[in-house]
């Protein structure tokens, strides 16, 4: 199917027929990339559901994420994986806790500058001026 990543990829038919739900691939990708963090499991599942909510019925999207997982794509190889993980971290309390790896990372709701508690991890809201 054309349009996946930057080129045409052919998957073995057996892989496609035997694959679990696409959301599970996204969860696995995030867990692998952020294996050093404690990711609250239910929140991670909920994030992925929210993230793919508008595209869960899209066959191209589903196949794309299966491909990423089985071909060992990571954030450095795929901009879409990068965006997924970035969105996940921005959607959690990770930056509110100042990136403390000892704390559980909890999902707060899909990142939005119009809804998120602290939508800019760089900002003075979290790092006020000394004076």
């Amino acid at each position: 199917m054309a349009g996946i990543g930057t080129g045409l990829l052919i998957l073995p038919p057996a892989l496609y027929l035997a694959s679990p739900s696409v959301w599970k691939y996204a969860v696995k990708l995030i867990r692998e990339e952020l294996n050093y963090l404690k990711l609250e499991p239910a929140g991670l599942d909920e994030f992925v559901r929210d993230y793919f909510k508008t595209s869960s019925n899209n066959a191209i999207i589903n196949l794309r994420w299966k491909t990423f997982y089985y071909l060992g794509f990571n954030k450095d190889k795929s901009n879409q994986i990068f965006e997924l993980i970035k969105f996940y971290l921005l959607s959690t309390d990770f930056f509110i806790h100042k990136m403390d790896e000892s704390k559980m990372v909890s999902y707060l709701g899909l990142y939005s500058p119009y809804k998120s508690s602290v939508p800019n991890p760089f900002s003075f809201v979290l790092y006020p001026p000394a004076d």
């Binding site: 990068f82 971290l89 921005l90 930056f95 939005s112 119009y114 800019n120 991890p121 760089f122 003075f124």
Partner: protein, 479 residues
């Protein structure tokens, strides 16, 4: 309409019209009949927020998107703008540096294009006035001549900003901005959410939240849904304004006509009116912008308090402008560019490099078969701008040598910078321009053609403050 003849007919309710009317009303306190024809509808900020939050708004379909308003012959180049009350004040991002004095004299100083017929010194008092009206937040020391404090204090520097300001002084400053650093005049303080087109906390100045109180004036009759498409002229005088409302054509007579739509539609109106000036619609464009990501070594770039936290002028002015474009550095404070390497998440700075470009004749606006819909023809960038980019890539590492830089990553240029410039440039005579220094059409002496379409050249600096100051200047010198 209340009347069949008006002293002043204005097309548009954006920055250029509003600031023009502000000054006009100061000088004409009563007894005038003023008609304002706004193409779109009022789409209030509160309703825009609903749409941004994914909620329903009864008003979300009130105004057409920009793609439906023009015929864009080059789909790779985008020209976003907003129709409706307040015009593009509803989508701008609130950056308000002044131009540099040299920006008005590029021919005299650098042999490039033409000088503006107005100087920085002449515009200076109107810059102050526009800054007061918008309650601009900014620093005490600036690279452009300015005395005294801005209406509001500057935003807070980030860690990177502090180092660069220490090295470069007033060549690297907190950006003067209409994103308020403190709550002011009914607006909140900026929370650095970095989605400024529709500000989540209403910190950014818009015509709607301005409290300028122009459209509440009893002399003004404001009509929505009325798109001006041409003027009826007799000799060198515009007698009537032609517009469409609710699918029907109308005409209204006026003494003085003010075109305050954006440059695309101002050009369209003039061309539909039979304007034969060869420069009308020509030399249209905007700056070139590209992002550079600065990966930092063990340094969190935190603490900035607004979207564009600083402006760098290290590549802006100098003799190099004889050969290649000036560049303004916009320092962005946004969540998009976090790193995903362990321990380095906030070790990132993001600079937007904005290059001046030239008003090339091959980039132009024409009419189409539909009198309401102009065509945009855009061939591309000038070599002058491209050379500016090449130079920037050579010298930027040295400029940033005071920072712990791991690497620089240059992204592709953006398809738009959010500014629409040129098409009705100002100058001394009709031989090299469309309007004079007061933005009065050289031929139709009762027609003002306002806004950034009147810019003689496309400086690297953001246009809104200057076009607002020009409107104040124009009205002050004309009435």
């Amino acid at each position: 309409m209340k009347y069949d003849y008006y002293d002043l007919i204005v097309a548009g309710t954006g920055f250029s019209s509003t600031f023009f009317l502000k000054k006009y009303l100061e000088k004409n306190k009563s007894g005038k009949r003023i008609l304002v024809l706004e193409c779109g509808q009022l789409f209030k900020h509160a309703e825009r927020l609903k749409v941004k939050r994914g909620e329903h708004s009864d008003f979300s379909g009130a105004n057409d998107s920009w793609e439906n308003k023009i015929i864009n012959k080059n789909k790779e180049k985008l020209w976003p703008f907003t129709t409706g009350f307040g015009g593009s004040s509803n989508c701008w991002w609130g950056c308000t540096p002044r131009f540099m004095p040299s920006d008005f004299k590029t021919k005299t100083l650098f042999g490039i294009e033409n000088d503006w017929p107005v100087t920085y010194e002449q515009l200076d008092p109107y810059y102050y006035e526009a800054e007061e009206l918008m309650s601009i937040s900014g620093p005490e020391e600036t690279p452009f001549p300015r005395k005294g404090k801005y209406p509001l204090p500057p935003h807070h520097f980030s860690a990177v900003d502090k180092i660069l300001h220490q090295k470069y002084g007033n060549q690297y400053i907190s950006q003067p901005t209409a994103r308020a650093s403190r709550a002011v005049n009914g607006r909140n303080a900026c929370m650095a959410r970095s989605a400024c087109d529709t500000c989540a906390v209403n910190a950014k100045f818009t015509i709607e939240n301005s409290n300028i109180n122009v459209y509440e004036n009893e002399q003004i009759e404001l009509v929505y849904g009325a798109q001006v498409y041409s003027l009826e002229t007799v000799g060198n005088v515009a007698k009537k304004v032609n517009y469409v409302k609710d699918g029907k054509d109308f005409q209204i007579s006026g003494e003085v006509i003010v075109l305050g739509t954006n440059p695309i539609f101002n050009s369209n109106i003039l061309l539909n009116s039979g304007d034969k000036n060869p420069l009308t619609g020509k030399g249209f464009g905007e700056q070139l912008g590209m992002q550079v990501l600065i990966y930092l070594d063990q340094m969190n770039n935190t603490g900035g308090s607004t979207w564009v936290n600083a402006n760098g002028y290290m590549l802006y002015d100098g003799d190099h402008r004889k050969d290649f474009a000036s560049c303004l550095i916009e320092v962005n404070n946004a969540p998009y560019n976090i790193r995903l390497e362990r321990g380095k998440w906030l070790n990132m700075a993001s600079f937007r490099m904005i290059f001046e470009d030239l008003p090339l004749a091959e980039n132009y606006i024409t009419t189409s078969a539909n009198k309401l819909i102009p065509e945009i023809h855009y061939k591309g960038r000038s070599d002058y701008a491209i050379k500016g980019v090449e130079n920037m890539k050579k010298v930027l590492p040295g400029i940033l040598s005071c920072l712990p830089v791991e690497k620089l990553k240059y992204l592709d240029p953006f398809p738009n910078e959010g500014h629409i410039l040129g098409g009705t440039r100002m100058g001394l005579t009709a031989a090299d321009s469309v309007v004079d220094k007061n933005m009065v059409h050289h031929q139709y002496r009762n027609v003002f053609v306002l806004g950034s379409g009147a810019f003689t050249t496309f400086t690297a600096s953001n246009p809104t403050l200057t076009l607002a100051a020009l409107s104040l200047f124009s009205a002050d010198h004309s009435f």
